[in-house]
């Protein structure tokens, strides 16, 4: 069902963990739906220098979280915002169609983390 890349990121997820004093935190999804993720980012000079995640969810959700946190590292905030669900899925070698929308919340959580960072900056 899942591609090898998905299985790799699921069984050996990168960047798992909480981040103390993260610059931005985004959460998306909820347990009722079976998928919920929390993404932490650390920002320096307008670039994401580190990212971590915690995810409740299926294999796809965990792999997506792992992949998104990998993809954002070193990107500017605007570059990171441009990461789409499709881009994440493509990096993972594709996702089963039924998983495309319900478990592929990484880009949304990331967006929220960036918004969180920006709103904190304004404050």
């Amino acid at each position: 069902m899942y591609s090898e890349r998905v299985m790799d990121h699921f069984t050996n997820p990168r960047n798992v963990g909480d981040m103390e004093d993260a610059d931005g935190i985004g959460t998306e999804g909820n347990p009722t739906c079976g998928d919920a993720m929390k993404i932490y980012i650390r920002v320096k000079d307008g670039k994401i220098v580190d990212a971590k995640f915690k995810t409740f969810g299926c294999g796809a959700a965990i792999a997506v979280s792992s992949m998104v946190t990998e993809m954002v590292k070193g990107k500017t905030l605007d570059e990171a915002l441009a990461i789409s669900k499709e881009a994440v899925a493509a990096e993972l070698g594709g996702l089963p169609p039924q998983k495309m929308h319900c478990s592929n919340l990484g880009a949304d959580a990331l967006k929220k983390a960036i918004e969180d960072y920006r709103s904190k900056q304004k404050a």
């Binding site: 699921f10 069984t11 909820n30 009722t32 739906c33 079976g34 919920a36 929390k38 969810g57 319900c102």
Partner: protein, 399 residues
């Protein structure tokens, strides 16, 4: 890697003796049972022998067995066939909330066809209460369908008591015994039901063979019309090898039933005893009154499919009622019907054992499974508690 298959509710390996019994019917005995010459007669005899064996498994008469191609077909046939046959007496049907999709979706079809369906609640151990059944019966009720056991939680329902309250009001009772027939003693006279569904693949028989027991004299409208197969009640060229296989599987199940149960129960109990020791792992369904090889849990803070896949990576195969593992992307209605919170229901996992599982397989499971739980909880944002998510949220799948 050695395979440890604990998903017998999804599929059973075929018993080698069952396959052996089927083989001639894939080769020289290819005749159509309707044909009047020797090939046909031998095929016909083979079916009738299978019918006797299946009847023997549930203590019915052979003529009370109608072969179908699946448990789902038997369930559709029962619900719709009886509702149609009895609609002049009333248009109200009672089904429990923990029924298989094939019952629930047939019930929805009946609703669209002008019937009223009332859904019987289930308590937190997975029982339907006969007292509640009694209260929900109306003058219009013509049919009650309650599963003998759900394959998701394994609780065996108090059918005899349900039949008793139904019979006070002359109401037909159907039970979905797909999960029980061939796995625990099932005696239609003792249960008192009027209709009962079964599927061969649940007792080491082949896929493609199911049966509906219909009590003698009970009128039922066919689901599949056509020729005169199955006394005109279910048309289509008979799947002779599958029916023969079902017969042989029934015969073996009957002969070995006590031995199989005796073998499986302690294995099941070891899984339940060990796993409920793990923090925030809950048994689903009743502890005692359950299928002999069935151990089902909800594991808090993690999701079922992720468990399945990590276990599969270790050669352990199981099932889950979580939304993500269902392909229907909805958490098991059975679990929700028992009042399990939706978040927790996502952590469903079911181990269903078979006679091929060795005690060492259970050792391995009990060694690996806690590690999988630990690992996924490390990834979970809720491992310290559900927080404000405790009640779960609205589930909106964005397109």
């Amino acid at each position: 890697m050695k395979k440890h298959y604990f998903d017998h509710v999804a599929a059973n390996p075929l018993h080698p003796e069952v396959l052996e019994a089927m083989m001639p019917y894939f080769k020289e005995e290819f005749g159509n049972p309707l044909s009047v010459y020797e090939y046909g007669m031998r095929a016909k005899n083979a079916i009738e022998e299978a019918r006797e064996r299946v009847a023997g498994l549930i203590s019915s008469k052979p003529a009370e067995i109608i072969f179908t191609a699946s448990g789902a077909e038997a369930n559709n046939f029962a619900l719709r066939g009886i509702a149609l046959a009895r609609q002049n007496e009333g248009k109200h049907v009672l089904v429990s909330r923990m029924e298989h999709h094939s019952i629930l979706n047939s019930a929805r079809f009946l609703e669209k066809s002008g019937f009223t369906v009332t859904y019987l609640p289930v308590d937190k151990k997975g029982f339907v209460d006969p007292g509640t059944v009694k209260k929900m019966i109306t003058d219009e009720t013509v049919l009650i369908s309650v599963t003998h056991a759900s394959s998701e939680v394994g609780t065996i329902e108090p059918l005899k008591e349900i039949v008793k309250v139904a019979k006070e009001r002359n109401i037909v009772v159907h039970t979905d015994a797909v999960a029980t027939a061939g796995n625990i003693p099932v005696d239609v006279r003792e249960l008192g039901v009027d209709l009962l569904s079964m599927a061969a693949h649940q007792f080491y028989g082949p896929k493609g063979a199911g049966a509906l027991y219909v009590k003698q004299g009970m009128r039922i409208v066919p689901l599949i019309y056509g020729g005169i197969q199955e006394s005109g009640r279910r048309a289509g060229t008979e799947n002779v090898p599958a029916i023969v296989g079902m017969g042989r599987a029934a015969e073996l199940a009957k002969a070995e039933l006590a031995k199989r149960i005796e073998y499986l129960r302690p294995l099941r109990d070891r899984i339940i005893d060990t796993m409920t020791e793990v923090d925030k792992v809950y048994l689903t369904g009743d502890r005692e009154n359950r299928l002999p090889g069935h151990a089902s849990f909800c594991v808090e803070f993690i999701e079922g499919e992720a468990m399945l896949l990590l276990l599969a990576a270790k050669g352990i195969f199981s099932a889950s009622g979580s939304a993500c593992s269902s392909r229907a992307l909805k958490a098991s209605p059975v679990l929700l019907s028992m009042g399990i919170p939706s978040g927790l229901a996502q952590g469903s996992i079911v181990f269903s054992l078979g006679t091929g599982n060795a005690p060492e397989d259970i050792d391995y499971l009990l060694q690996e499974f806690p590690a999988v739980i630990k690992r996924l909880r490390e990834i979970s944002p809720y491992a310290q508690g559900w927080g404000d998510r405790e009640e779960g949220g609205e589930c909106t799948v964005k397109e």
